[in-house]
Amino acid sequence: MSRAFLLGLAWRSAWNRRFTLALTVLSIALSTFMLLGVERVRTDLRSSFGAAVSGTDLIVGARTGSVQLLLYSVFHVGAATNNIRWSSVEALEKLRGVAWVVPLSLGDSHRGFPVLGTTAAYFEHFRYGERQPLALREGQRFRDLYEVVIGAELADRLGYQVGQRIALSHGMSEVSLGASHADKPFTISGILARTGTPVDRTAHISLEAMEAIHVDWIAGAPLPGRSIDAEAARALQLQPRSVTAALVGLHNRAAVFSVQRQVNGFGAEPLMSVLPGVALDELWDVVGAGEQALLLMSALVALVSMAGLMSVILAGLNERRRELAVLRAVGAGPWQVLALLALEGMLLTLAGMALGIVALAGAVLAFNPWLQAHFGLTLQLGQITSMQGLLLGGLLLAGWLASLLPGWRAYRLSLVDGLSPRI
């Protein structure tokens, strides 16, 4: 008998049970969606994490842990235990092999979003993702002392426009505790294009501005009775005395270890420097427990959905005992019955997986803007990771095996039943 006939028979039998089977296909689609979705989030979480900084060869700061240095300098999370002197930054620039230095000064905030004091070199040299430079969505870089360039998410979340005036506050608390820099308001000069990195949440001002708003402060509090207004501050010497950290770029990456040695052995004050990639890996090891949990979740989802698939096919088998007995009676061999069931299982699994992939693509397209806005996470649509390929293959294999088990049972039953099944 022909394969085409067997295929046709499988199709007509399946069509006859289309409502039950539609549920099976849906449950496989859901499993596929979950498995690939979790894996997608896991992968893209890691890559958007790694995209936070690129093109920087060294991060320099006061002696601390490398993860901690990375956290506050790049992710603007936590605080530095010590600053580095401005003279050290100047010395860094003179080291052999150093192409550029971008000083970073942190510690203030605007409604919970971090404020970064830096120089024009930041816009020239900072890179994220695949060595992409920062771009302005609208407006221009800060020119005047009291101008600020804000990240896309900060702008969107708070509804800020270019030209609007905002006040910065001291420290990182979202609720202003009175320690405000409201006496020196800033004008938004530009808004950066979205990057999917911590830059989106940051307000950028010049180092001099950072100095100006703290000119009448000491040890984190305003000096009583010594308020200097914004215009008066312009006249003062605003050369920063210290910064929090610095990003360093080299002429030649090969020199990175030699420069790192020089920085770490710096005589004037204790400094440390880390390679961003190495520190990112270390940081990922710390937060990797979450990744493991996601992976475990994927495995559990896969297990549960396979068990579901198998139980649906097994439950259907009792309904089909008659049908299989009739086929046996008109001459179908046990292998043909087995092939029929395996074929159906394979087609069901494939259909379910295809549906799941389409659903995932739709969901990614629909939810990407929201994910980007709320979590700074961009899900990739096109590329299938090797892990995803592995998962898909595993799913197909499991689905097929899950349909073979009932097939084997049908084979046993058709022998035990003889020609008339006992129901």
Binding site: S2, R12, W15, N16, G331, S420
Partner: protein, 238 residues
């Protein structure tokens, strides 16, 4: 000596895990074209005997041969082929694949057996023509041939099953209580049609029932408990 269509000698069969024999029959022969009425109370082993005749089950000892071929000499795949070549089967009910038309159901044995397909083509020109001829022979109108099997009445379904058992003229038709789901009038009509069709096809018929009213229309009547020594020795064991 020319052998009979069906030869059964010194057969002993016990279900797995069962210490007592279920069937122990010294001798049973069915000649080509013969019609046999096999009766006995429920649970006396009638269906088991049919499975042994059709080579679905193999006896622990003894010989069952159909068309001169001993079932035990064949491997499983060859048994399946020999069965579909030589045996048409009618169940008590639920004979048909509900999603196929009456015609496609009748054609099923031709899909699985080259011998049946060729025999059908020789008899009527093509398997399709043969299927239509047997359906008409079982008194079914052309209007129902294309209808899905699940839309047919039980009586119609049994006639389609009979047409399927007869297509390609197998040597043996086995009918396992095919009339038990039918009322008395329909049972008689069905039996008339089935006996006439078997005669036309030249197929032997082994017809099992616990209802002995139909028995006189068959060439031979056999009471299973009378030939089953396991039942005689062990009393009520079935």
């Amino acid at each position: 000596m020319a052998h009979s269509l069906l030869e059964l000698e010194d057969l002993r069969f016990a279900w797995p895990g069962c210490a007592q024999d279920c069937l122990h029959i010294d001798m049973l022969r069915v000649e080509a074209g013969e019609t046999v009425f096999l009766h006995g109370p429920s649970g006396c082993g009638k269906s088991t005997l049919l499975s042994l005749l059709a080579g679905v089950l193999l006896p622990q000892s003894g010989r069952v041969a159909l068309g001169g071929v001993h079932w035990g000499d064949l491997r499983a795949g060859a048994r399946d082929r020999h069965r579909v070549d030589q045996v048409g089967y009618i169940f008590q009910q639920f004979n048909l694949l509900p999603y196929l038309s009456a015609l496609d159901n009748v054609l099923l044995p031709c899909r699985f057996s080259t011998r049946r397909r060729e025999a059908a083509a020789r008899a009527a020109g093509s398997p399709q023509a043969a299927a239509q001829r047997w359906l008409a022979g079982m008194g079914l109108d052309a209007a129902v041939w294309r209808r899905p099997a699940h839309t047919l009445s039980v009586g119609q379904q049994q006639r389609v099953a009979a047409a399927r058992a007869l297509i390609g003229q197998p040597g043996l038709v086995i009918a396992d209580e095919p009339t038990s789901a039918l009322d008395e009038d329909r049972r008689d009509v069905f039996l008339d049609l089935l006996l006439a069709a078997c005669a036309e096809a030249g197929s032997a018929l082994v017809f099992v029932s616990h209802d002995r009213r139909s028995a006189p229309r068959f060439a031979r009547q056999i009471a299973l408990p009378a030939i089953n020594r396991a039942a005689q020795g062990a009393g009520e064991h079935a």
